[in-house]
């Protein structure tokens, strides 16, 4: 302890410089951790943190036995798997094509357009969804009517939303991921390609046997790290695309939307906190596992 005070005396100013940051994380991250206690209570607004009746594991038991938890976990994990794998593959494909492209103007323009969705808000994604899919005036139904077909009520059908959500997730992240993969491609030495050219390898062979294998570590790493967050849902995306639509819960409800509804709509604090704690707890276990694997594969890239 005296070592601590000695250090404090020596680096007083440095301590003061990082103090606001530490206070910030204590307030907004560590103090709320105490609140996971709500998960074991039947929370009432009068009772508050310690005055609400303690119910043990009852909330978890309900979530588990009613099948809610299974459904939420399934949706969250499956969506994330689709986002991660489809997203990374498409980003990789775009990066490979762009890196070989000769027309500089074309490359710059297309890359800028593909990166644009990253910068806009999810509310605008909500505006797109409204513009495209609303029953009366949506662009898709406008097209169907023009072709003399029956309009389609998207809000009465669960299946299309799976594809709509996946589409907009990939749409939003495509440019960002492409930049990351392009940077990795630029890091590959030209010598390999030159040598392969002299040996008579055509462009397909060079991509297949040089670029792809060289990108494999980046690809695997990005996938692995993303898998660590597979229980975390993108609330912004799901809420803006689907909103609070009971008809569509079956295929579009994820842990994060459930927690939000418990808080803002159903006022079921205990149940919502329980679902959130379940997500945090297993998410934590998952990151630890993934990090352990990354450590085995490539020590340098482990998170900790």
């Amino acid at each position: 302890m005296s070592g601590f005070f000695k250090e404090l005396g020596k680096n007083k100013v440095l301590f003061f410089m990082i103090l606001p940051t530490l206070l910030f994380f204590v307030t907004f991250s560590y103090i709320p951790m105490v609140g996971v206690y709500y998960a074991f209570t039947n929370y009432s607004f009068d009772g508050g943190l310690f005055g609400s009746p303690f119910v043990g594991m009852q909330n978890f038991k309900f979530l588990f036995e009613s099948g809610v938890l299974l459904q939420l976990t399934k949706n969250t994990v499956l969506y994330n798997l689709a986002f991660i794998f489809l997203g990374n593959i498409l980003q990789l494909v775009c990066a490979v094509f762009l890196s070989e492209m000769v027309g500089k103007w074309f490359r710059k323009t297309t890359q800028s357009v593909m990166f644009l969705p990253f910068f806009i808000s999810f509310v605008l994604v909500g505006a797109f969804v409204y513009n495209l899919f609303n029953f009366e005036t949506g662009a898709v139904n406008a097209l169907l009517r023009q072709l003399g077909l029956q309009p389609y009520d998207f809000y009465m059908n669960t299946t299309p939303w799976i594809y709509i959500i996946i589409f907009f997730n990939i749409w939003k992240g495509l440019g960002y991921g492409t930049v990351i993969y392009l940077a990795a491609i630029m890091g590959i030495s030209d010598e390999y390609h030159e040598a392969a050219k002299i040996d008579g390898a055509n462009i397909f062979k060079r991509i297949r046997y040089i670029t792809i294998p060289m990108l494999k570590p980046t690809f695997i790493l990005l996938i692995l790290l993303a898998l660590g967050g597979i229980l975390k849902g993108q609330f912004d995306l799901f809420w803006q695309v689907v909103g609070n639509n009971g008809m569509l819960y079956e295929t579009t409800d994820i842990i994060d939307t459930y927690v939000y509804r418990s808080l803002a709509i159903n006022f079921d604090i205990g149940m919502g906190t329980a679902a959130g704690l379940y997500q945090s707890f297993f998410g934590f276990a998952l990151v630890i596992t993934v990090n352990w694997i990354v450590r085995k594969v490539q020590k340098d890239y482990a998170l900790f």
């Binding site: 940051t21 994380f25 709320p32 996971v36 910068f119 513009n131 934590f284």
Partner: protein
């Protein structure tokens, strides 16, 4: 040198694939612009189209006839974005600098203290109850400003940027008798501009695009930031106050559908406008930061 046939084939496939992706990325934007420039009656009758049947700027006119609401929201968002970005950058860069100092004994434990918050959290509900019940920030701008100031990722990224600044600079300044804070302010910050630009952009974007905090905490309409106002208008929960209806005949319908699209454009405009300038910085910063996250 003549290009090989396989190269030509490859590039043709490349151009086709990239063109398709680009069109898909641009299409939703195009539809919104087209919708905002259409006549309301066409939209009511036929729905949104790729090309306006009858070109009309009525939607924009009615927004700007009574622009009070939009301007108020603009003011809220601009102030939050400027204040949040400046304060966030200041705190993040100080933390990043301290954590990058090799002679600071507790840097690893403190870095882990910050990093741990990305691994485990109490979840949304305890966080919400803290802010509303204990900090008492319901309907308060502080709830929009403070919780978004810092993130563990930004601090780690900043720390990595700071690490690339040679230690000898700090050391020699200390020998010359400069104080720690002066070193940070006068020597380190100017050298850390690429890092500051990248993280400043991240922060600026997250404040500009934020609707979630307002959705959670703000109840007074005059305190709505831009994106939340758009969200409310899209959900038809808030009606843009226009006096256009009062001035015209009884069977005149104020533009609702096209108006939603016009508001979407007005709210997003500055980002798209600034985009060409910031994108370059962003790509550069990302490529530096991505080498080791």
């Amino acid at each position: 040198m003549r290009a090989e046939r396989s190269t030509i084939v490859f590039n043709i496939i490349g151009y086709i694939v990239i063109t398709i992706f680009t069109v898909l990325c641009a299409l939703p934007f195009w539809l919104i612009i087209s919708g905002s420039l259409s006549a309301e009656n066409d939209i009511i009758r036929d729905g949104f189209k790729l090309i306006p049947q009858n070109f009309s700027i009525d939607a924009y006119k009615s927004v700007f006839q009574n622009p009070e609401q939009i301007f108020t929201a603009y003011r809220v968002t601009i102030l939050l974005t400027l204040g949040g970005t400046a304060l966030g950058l200041f705190l993040t860069s100080m933390a990043g600098y301290v954590l990058s100092r090799k002679d600071f004994k507790y840097r690893d434990s403190l870095a882990f203290f910050i990093y741990f918050t990305t691994l485990f959290s109490g979840g949304l509900i305890p966080w919400y109850i803290l802010i509303v019940n204990y900090l008492d920030w319901k309907d308060n701008f502080l709830a929009l400003l403070i919780p978004g100031l810092m993130s563990a990722w930004n601090i780690i990224l900043m720390k990595n940027f700071m690490k690339s600044i040679p230690e000898s600079i700090t050391e020699s300044a200390k020998i010359d008798g400069a104080g720690e804070f002066t070193i940070y302010l006068k020597l380190i910050l100017p050298l850390a501009t690429p890092g500051l630009a990248t993280i400043g952009l991240f922060l600026g974007l997250s404040y500009w695009n934020d609707w979630f905090a307002a959705n959670m905490f703000i109840t007074t309409e005059s305190k709505y930031p831009l994106q939340f106002l758009l969200y409310k208008i899209l959900a038809s929960a808030a009606v843009l106050k226009t006096d256009i209806a009062g001035n015209l005949g009884p069977d005149f319908k104020p533009p609702a559908e096209t108006l939603k699209m016009a508001v979407a454009i007005i709210v997003t405009g500055p980002i798209v406008f600034l985009y060409p300038f910031v994108q370059r910085y962003f790509v550069k910063g990302l490529t530096i930061g991505a080498v080791k996250g």
